[in-house]
């Protein structure tokens, strides 16, 4: 397939692998932020192609994984209400809250629908004027513009039965939080290409300078990731700490000004709790006062139940890059995709699920 096969070319892969080996003189630890990249790395065995000196850590960049238990409990509560049609992206449906997930609510009779776009939820609200349609607005800056477009469309259509449970999160505050941690091991970051396609990467430059860490805006195909790693190692070896762009075919330094303007018109930064990381100031996006009528948190009484996390799950440490999935005693035993203890085992972009699916047994050869 054009524009895909070029980035999975085995000869080019082998060349980049040799180049990485050639320039690497010391051990380095690099974190990929985005769950999509984690999935691609484990699926394609990219980490196995790297020299032993290079450690890849998997970051908190899967929106499904970092959505707090409290928000999932709110979603479950909302979805069980008889007047509500609860719409969500597919991979959010199996994430466990304190007691159950959205698929269980559906099985118990709740009207839970899997949609492919927030616009689908707006259409359902238009078609079902007697019901309350709630969309679970999750994602990073990448999905924020689509959520905003849905809200603007709902306002234009005068819909009074559409709202969103807001769980949008921002990448930059999470990177800053990781780097500020005294135990931080990360020496360079692969920044998420699709987030930067929206936001640009100018904002990352002060961060790279302040913490003296190289950041490489990286794409999602095997060659993209290998090249991003190569560029990060080159900076580390040369003692540079700059923001570089590997994903030039999709990302410009200024990002997508139209999308940024849309986000700023409707949303504003709010404090948000991350699963595994805790509360990070100004790390989420919430609705501005002018659009508060679309906030499901305000429309419904969601006096939250007490959120309970599994006591043995180490997904928080995994999301911070301090441990890897096989380090967990529950990995593959008490915790499997069928019975996940934490969100990193649920989403296909979660590090535990990716390891379980592609690495569970060591191949005999």
């Amino acid at each position: 397939m054009k524009f895909i096969d070029e980035y999975r070319d085995p000869q080019a892969t082998a060349r980049l692998k040799r180049e990485i080996e050639r320039i690497t003189t010391r051990p380095w630890t690099i974190m990929e932020i985005c769950g999509g990249q984690t999935h691609a790395i484990v699926k394609n065995g990219i980490d196995l192609l790297l020299p032993d000196k290079i450690t890849l850590l998997h970051g908190p960049g899967c929106p499904v994984c970092v959505t707090s238990v409290e928000l999932i409990d709110k979603a479950v509560t909302l979805a069980a209400r008889p007047e509500v049609i609860f719409c969500s992206f597919g991979d959010m449906m199996r994430v466990p809250g304190s007691h159950k997930d959205l698929l269980s609510v559906k099985a118990e009779g709740g009207d839970v629908r899997m949609v492919y776009s927030p616009a689908d939820a707006v259409r359902i609200a238009h078609e079902c004027p007697d019901r309350q349609v709630v969309f679970f607005g999750i994602g990073f800056e990448t999905t924020a513009p689509a959520n905003v477009a849905a809200i603007l469309q709902a306002r234009q259509m005068g819909l009074k039965n559409f709202s969103m449970l807001m769980a949008l999160v921002l990448v930059k505050p999470a990177i800053a939080a990781l780097l500020s941690d005294p135990d931080n091991r990360v020496q360079a970051f692969l920044a998420a290409g699709h987030v930067c396609a929206v936001t640009g990467y100018g904002d990352y430059e002060p961060l790279a300078a302040r913490f003296h860490v190289p950041m490489v805006v990286t794409g999602f195909e095997p060659l993209d990731i290998l090249q991003g790693i190569f560029m990060a190692i080159a900076q580390l070896e040369q003692g540079r700490a700059e923001v570089e762009n590997q994903y030039t075919r999709a990302v410009r330094r200024e990002g997508n000004p139209a999308a940024i303007a849309m986000i700023e018109k409707v949303l504003m930064p709010v404090d948000r709790a991350w699963r595994g990381l805790g509360m990070i100031p100004s790390s989420g996006l919430g609705l501005r006062t002018e659009y508060a009528e679309f906030d499901a948190g305000k429309r419904f009484d969601l006096t939250a139940c007490i959120a309970e996390e599994s006591s043995i799950c180490i997904s928080g440490l995994i999301l911070q890059g301090r441990m890897k999935p096989p380090d967990c005693t529950a990995f593959g035993t008490a915790c499997t995709p069928e019975h996940p203890l934490g969100a990193t085992m649920v989403s296909s972009e979660g590090a535990c699920a990716a390891y379980y699916r592609y690495r569970r047994t060591k191949a005999p050869h």
């Binding site: 484990v42 699926k43 065995g45 992206f89 597919g90 991979d91 959010m92 592609y358």
Partner: protein
């Protein structure tokens, strides 16, 4: 005009003219008989049904028969490349073929939701007839039930089939040996993506059609040629990946495949990239794998190429070795970039990814 004409107690509407199925069509009375007489018997046209008895008597010479059954709840009922009727016939016929059997007879049981259009029922019945003829099998007995509106999903069909075994060897995972090769009869992922596109209203540049087709001819040609088939399996729900894991587990072997060898059409790859799906896990209804000794691979591929249009048979991998007793089977795949990874079963159905 006679007295009886004046005092006709029958409903003035001709019974067959009801445009929708009524609860009464399943009540065992005249309406049900009209449904059977007017729709099913003419559509299926088998001599066994003409006898109008409780069951069908079959005279079978073979000493070994295979029996299988499957229920069909596909939604939407009509989709590009097929419908629930052709699916209900091909699915069961293919299960028989995978056991090395030539299908002899099918049963068909219909659970119809009150209010279902009679015209659609006729279309489904005719589609079943066409599929049965293509597969060389007769529909010899059946059943009809009607459920209250809201308690069904339009139409559910259950078919069962029996077939005569045409292979002296047991065609099953237990016959799989190290050194065997894995052949596939064509590209994967079409049925699942066609259904999903039809169900969700996803539009692609070209209409993606289901690969729904009978596999009897391909299997019988391989058996007639005397090929030593060790295992056959159609790649329905869970797709190629799930099937390989099932066979590796049941046979206690390590199967290794090459990602680059598995045929996937451009439009299917594109749809899967957009949705975050892996085509190896997407359902098919006209694809199967054949596992047989490596030295017979070329001959089998030749036969597969000739036995059906619109297919691209490929050798995708081999059985490497037995796994130690008590360990689960193993399936590994060499990716296009040359690294190796494990292929595992999914815990549920594939869910579209957020990003």
């Amino acid at each position: 005009m006679t007295l009886s004409d004046n005092f006709n107690l029958n409903c003035p509407l001709p019974k067959a003219d009801y445009p929708y199925v009524l609860l009464a069509h399943g009540g065992g009375g005249r309406l049900m008989h009209r449904l059977i007489e007017d729709i099913f018997i003419p559509a299926f046209g088998s001599q066994e049904l003409e006898l109008r008895h409780d069951g069908a008597r079959l005279d079978i010479e073979s000493s070994a028969v295979v029996m299988t059954t499957d229920s069909y709840v596909v939604h939407p009922l009509f989709f590009p490349g097929g419908d629930i009727g052709s699916l209900a016939v091909n699915g069961t016929v293919n299960d028989l073929a995978m056991c090395g059997a030539r299908p002899t007879a099918l049963s068909a049981a219909f659970i119809i939701e009150e209010g279902f259009p009679v015209e659609s029922l006729v279309r489904v019945a005719q589609s079943m007839r066409a599929a049965a003829e293509a597969a060389g099998v007769r529909i010899v007995t059946g059943d009809t039930k009607v459920v209250d509106k809201g308690r069904g999903h339009g139409l559910f069909i259950t078919t069962a089939g029996i077939g005569e075994v045409k292979s002296s060897r047991l065609i099953a995972p237990s016959s799989v040996r190290p050194g065997d090769v894995i052949l596939i009869n064509g590209d994967v992922g079409r049925h699942g993506i066609a259904i999903m596109a039809a169900r969700e209203g996803l539009e692609f540049e070209t209409t993606i059609e289901s690969d729904c087709a009978p596999l009897v001819d391909s299997v019988m040609r391989m058996l007639d040629a005397g090929l030593d088939l060790h295992c056959l399996r159609d790649l329905t729900r869970g797709g190629l990946a799930t099937t390989l894991v099932e066979i590796a587990d049941a046979a206690g072997v390590h199967i290794a495949i090459e990602e680059a060898a598995v045929p996937v059409r451009e439009e299917i790859r594109g749809a899967c990239e957009i949705l975050g799906f892996d085509p190896l896990y997407v359902a098919n209804e006209g694809r199967f794998i054949a596992i047989l000794p490596g030295k017979e691979a070329d001959r089998a591929l030749d036969i597969l190429r000739k036995s059906a249009v619109d297919c691209t048979p490929m050798r995708i991998g081999q059985v490497v070795e037995r796994v130690p007793d008590g360990q689960p089977g193993l399936v590994t795949m060499t990716s296009v970039i040359g690294s190796e990874r494990i292929i595992d079963m999914l815990s549920g159905e594939q869910l579209p990814r957020i990003c």
